[in-house]
């Protein structure tokens, strides 16, 4: 049986989960759900590149695919909604992923919160520049969110150089970025751009033109955007236009909004129980936030919440259990709370990466 690219990715991810999580954890991962649990799992199972990788996939479709793979003998059902990959399943997936490796720059966990706005601004800026170049005023903007339109307008208004020069600089910056990574295929990005007398392709069209599976195209396309974002991060000073486009203002740490509030209160010196009372939330929720923060802010100090000795014990217990289940770890360290275990795992998950 031939399997699709998406099926190969699904097998690959299920294989990483080793039957320890239900398929819904992958659903949340593909959708980029910003919950402590999903983020934590992404780290534990080394699935961070897949965070927010297939936001369009539907729950039913995911289950349907798993059942289909099961009936072809590539998966076996081990518990409710939980599948393990068979040997032949792993072989099939590996063969496809060897031919089409997981794109290396895709990093939903890091960039998910800015990717969309970045693309909206960039694609609109290219369209506007291209039309300015040809002195064409009569066209329909390809993006229609007021904020995006406003941003491009004010960006162009505040640039001192001639319109034509902005266009050329933007060209040079994009060229510079893409030429640094000869293994990438920038065509996927260029095909989707709109300019003077040329309307960009939709993802379905671009995938067909390049002969790619739709899901692979989407992943590769986002990969290019994340590559640009990474390059801008590293070389911002020589990429002034792209830096401005990517300067979206949201904090770099991709916390949930609620965790962000907790973070700032912690920084002001409040204790978790005080924060819970102030925000009218359960202590559990605040602890979830702290785990999320530990996952995403490498400099966050967890020693306030768990003693050093306990931390070491937990790490030892975790490395002795193959199954990453909290219950099992706790049976080795009964004096630790679940919160403390999760916190330590969150931090050490960071280190393993």
């Amino acid at each position: 049986m031939e399997i699709t690219y998406f099926e190969a990715v699904l097998l690959h991810c299920l294989n990483r989960l080793k039957g320890e999580r239900t398929i819904f954890s992958l659903f949340h991962l593909f959708h980029g759900k910003k919950s402590a649990q999903t983020i934590q799992d992404a780290h534990f199972y080394h699935l961070t590149p897949f965070f927010h990788s297939f936001p369009e996939i539907e729950r039913e479709k995911l289950i349907e695919t798993a059942i289909h793979l099961q009936s072809s003998g590539l998966l076996i059902l081990t518990a409710a909604d939980t599948w393990m990959v068979t040997k032949s399943g792993k072989m099939k997936a590996d063969r496809i992923l060897k031919a089409y490796p997981i794109p290396q720059y895709h990093d939903g966990l890091k960039y998910q919160h800015i990717t969309r706005v970045f693309w909206e601004r960039l694609s609109l800026l290219v369209q506007v520049c291209s039309n300015l170049l040809y002195e064409q005023k009569d066209y329909i903007p390809i993006q229609n969110r007021q904020e995006t339109l406003q941003w491009v307008k004010s960006f162009l208004l505040h640039r001192k150089e001639k319109r034509r020069d902005i266009s050329e600089r933007l060209y040079r910056e994009l060229l510079y970025c893409f030429e640094r990574a000869p293994a990438l295929n920038p065509t996927l990005f260029i095909l989707r751009l709109t300019g003077h007398q040329r309307i960009g392709l939709t993802p379905i069209q671009a995938a067909e033109v390049t002969g790619m599976d739709y899901f692979r195209f989407q992943l590769e396309f986002t990969n290019l955007l994340h590559f640009l974002l990474k390059t801008i991060e590293e070389q911002g000073s020589s990429l002034p236009i792209l830096s401005a486009v990517s300067n979206i203002g949201r904090a770099a740490a991709p916390f949930t909004l609620s965790a962000e509030k907790t973070f700032s209160l912690l920084n002001k010196g409040y204790q978790p129980d005080e924060i819970a009372a102030m925000r009218n939330l359960k202590l559990n929720t605040i602890e979830d936030h702290i785990v999320e923060i530990a996952l995403n802010a490498p400099k966050f100090d967890i020693s306030k919440y768990v003693q050093r000795k306990k931390e070491e014990k937990i790490i030892e217990a975790a490395s002795n259990t193959t199954v990453r289940k909290l219950k099992e770890i706790r049976s080795f360290v009964p004096e630790a709370s679940y919160f403390e275990i999760r916190l330590v795992l969150a931090r050490s998950g960071q280190k393993w990466n």
């Binding site: 329909i140 390809i142 260029i190 751009l193 007398q197 040329r198 309307i199 939709t202 069209q205 067909e208």
Partner: protein, 493 residues
């Protein structure tokens, strides 16, 4: 200023199209006007020009969000930045910004449900309204094929705004519907400007095909007819399926429907307008507000639910007056799908009675229906459209007792059901008519029909040959390098 001169000063048009000048003169002469102009004759000019020639803002009530958006985009593209669209989809922040600076806008597009909000109406009252426009005015009539309950309140809103000069625009309204428009808008005296719905450039064909032959026939037609063209479907899924099939046959086709992401919607629409895309497989969501002159064929894979929609949809062909063709494919039994779709829009007796008995049980007041939505809608098994209808009804009659409202609503639903089913029967009569199809349509809209055309319709007889593609399209070449593609976008040599 003389009208011709105004046209040149304010717009890029050189001359008026049929009906525009009379409509504009009537409005400028201070008369309420109901204007029925065929699709593609530039209805928007009829309020644009008076807007420029009069002080104050033009308020345009528009039923469809997508249409509203397109109209604003087109005005902006033509250099008019003082246009704004107010609807419930606008993020709160943008809405507030727009509401605060309304005086700065010449053209304010608004959805009927927004106009129903007292705060919004109050704000509108502070404006100087040069003209009150009701676009797609047939939506106002209960006899119309596209009746919107939201529209039924427009008469009150109009009076509340101080009875401004009103222009009701529609492309398809029988004389019965036009009379109802005036009544619903509380117009006491008005001018009616009616142009023939006939589009001589479009040949009309109805083809009977066996159920199992329809698919291959649509592929055959799409492949051989001179494009660009639109194929209409009544389901998203079918539109998508056939678009994929056509692409597999080497055609340049995409589907377009309400389920698409906004960005993809704009891309596909613009590709079609710019000639990059040959065929659109669409639901009725596509077409309104699209400005494309050279559409050569319209295919109907499913029959429309009424003759008015059919006339609107085929009217998207041949706006350049070039020879075009409309072909409706009919398989015996197709009407079952139509009846089914029509029924889905209205709740049935069981749904109604279970809703009202549940509502009584929990002691709901009609004005609070939105609070109980999550509780009542799933238990009564109402679809989104059905709930919108019912909710609107409850709010409109909120001072009455639930029992009385239930009775009223049942009667109303019964009446709508009849209207809809009659419309489908009219459509069937058109399909099976052995006499001239064009005459049938004209008579339907109460026009005198006296036609003798060479290429008229499938009843009068004509050959498809003259609509067949002369040269096969060559698909676009993507074999240049990405560097060259990027340069062609951003460098001018």
């Amino acid at each position: 200023m003389e009208l011709m001169e105004a046209l040149r000063v304010y717009t890029s048009h050189k001359e008026f199209r049929p009906g525009q000048k009379r409509t504009i003169s009537s409005v400028l002469g201070g008369k309420h006007t109901i204007s029925m102009l065929p699709t593609g004759t530039g209805k928007s000019l009829c309020y644009q020009l008076p807007g420029y020639m009069r002080k104050g803002s033009v308020l345009i009530v528009s039923p469809l969000l997508s249409l509203m958006h397109d109209q604003v985009e087109q005005l902006r593209a033509a250099g008019e930045k003082r246009a704004v669209a107010l609807n419930s989809f606008l993020p709160l922040e943008e809405k507030n910004r727009a509401m605060a600076s309304l005086e700065g806008y010449k053209f304010i597009f608004i959805s009927p449900e927004m106009l129903g909000i007292p705060m919004v109406t109050a704000r509108m009252k502070e404006l100087e309204i040069a003209l009150f426009v009701v676009d797609e005015a047939h939506c106002i009539s209960q006899w119309g094929y596209d009746f919107r309950p939201d529209y039924a309140r427009l008469g009150d809103v109009r009076e509340n705004l101080g009875n401004p000069i009103t222009l009701a625009l529609t492309a398809t309204a029988t004389s019965e519907v036009r009379a109802d428009i005036a009544r619903q808008l509380h117009l006491d005296d008005w001018e009616e400007i009616v142009y023939s719905i006939d589009r001589p450039a479009i040949a009309i064909s109805v083809e009977q095909v066996g159920r199992d032959k329809k698919l291959s026939r649509v592929i055959e037609l799409a492949e051989s007819l001179e494009g660009p063209g639109i194929i209409y479907f009544s389901s998203k899924r079918k539109a998508e399926e056939i678009a994929i099939l056509l692409r597999q046959h080497g055609m340049n086709a995409m589907s377009y429907h309400g389920g698409l992401e906004q960005e993809n919607r704009i891309l596909i629409q613009q590709q079609f307008v710019k000639g990059q895309l040959d065929i659109i497989c669409a639901t009725s969501a596509f077409g309104m507000g699209i400005n494309k002159q050279d559409v050569r064929f319209i295919l109907h894979y499913h029959m429309p639910l009424d003759i008015e929609s059919y006339v609107q949809e085929i009217g998207r062909a041949g706006r350049d007056n070039g020879k075009s063709i409309a072909i409706l494919l009919y398989s015996p039994g197709d009407e079952q799908l139509s009846f089914g779709l029509a029924a889905l829009e209205l709740p049935d007796d069981i749904q109604i009675s279970s809703f009202f008995s549940l509502a009584k049980e929990i002691g709901m007041k009609p004005g609070d229906c939105k609070t109980y939505e999550k509780q009542l809608v799933p238990s009564a098994g109402l679809t989104e459209i059905q709930w919108r209808l019912l909710c609107d009804f409850l709010l409109r009659w909120k001072q009455e007792k639930m029992g009385a409202i239930e009775e009223k609503f049942s009667l109303y639903v019964e009446q709508r059901r009849k209207v809809k089913s009659n419309k489908i029967k009219d459509m069937l009569a058109f399909i099976s008519a052995e006499s001239c199809k064009r005459v049938f349509l004209l008579k339907f809209f109460g026009e005198n029909a006296d036609i003798s055309k060479e290429t008229c319709c499938s009843s009068c007889g004509f050959s498809y040959l003259s609509f067949v593609k002369k040269i096969k399209n060559s698909s676009r070449n993507y074999h240049v390098t990405w560097q060259e593609e990027l340069a062609s976008l951003l460098l001018r040599r």
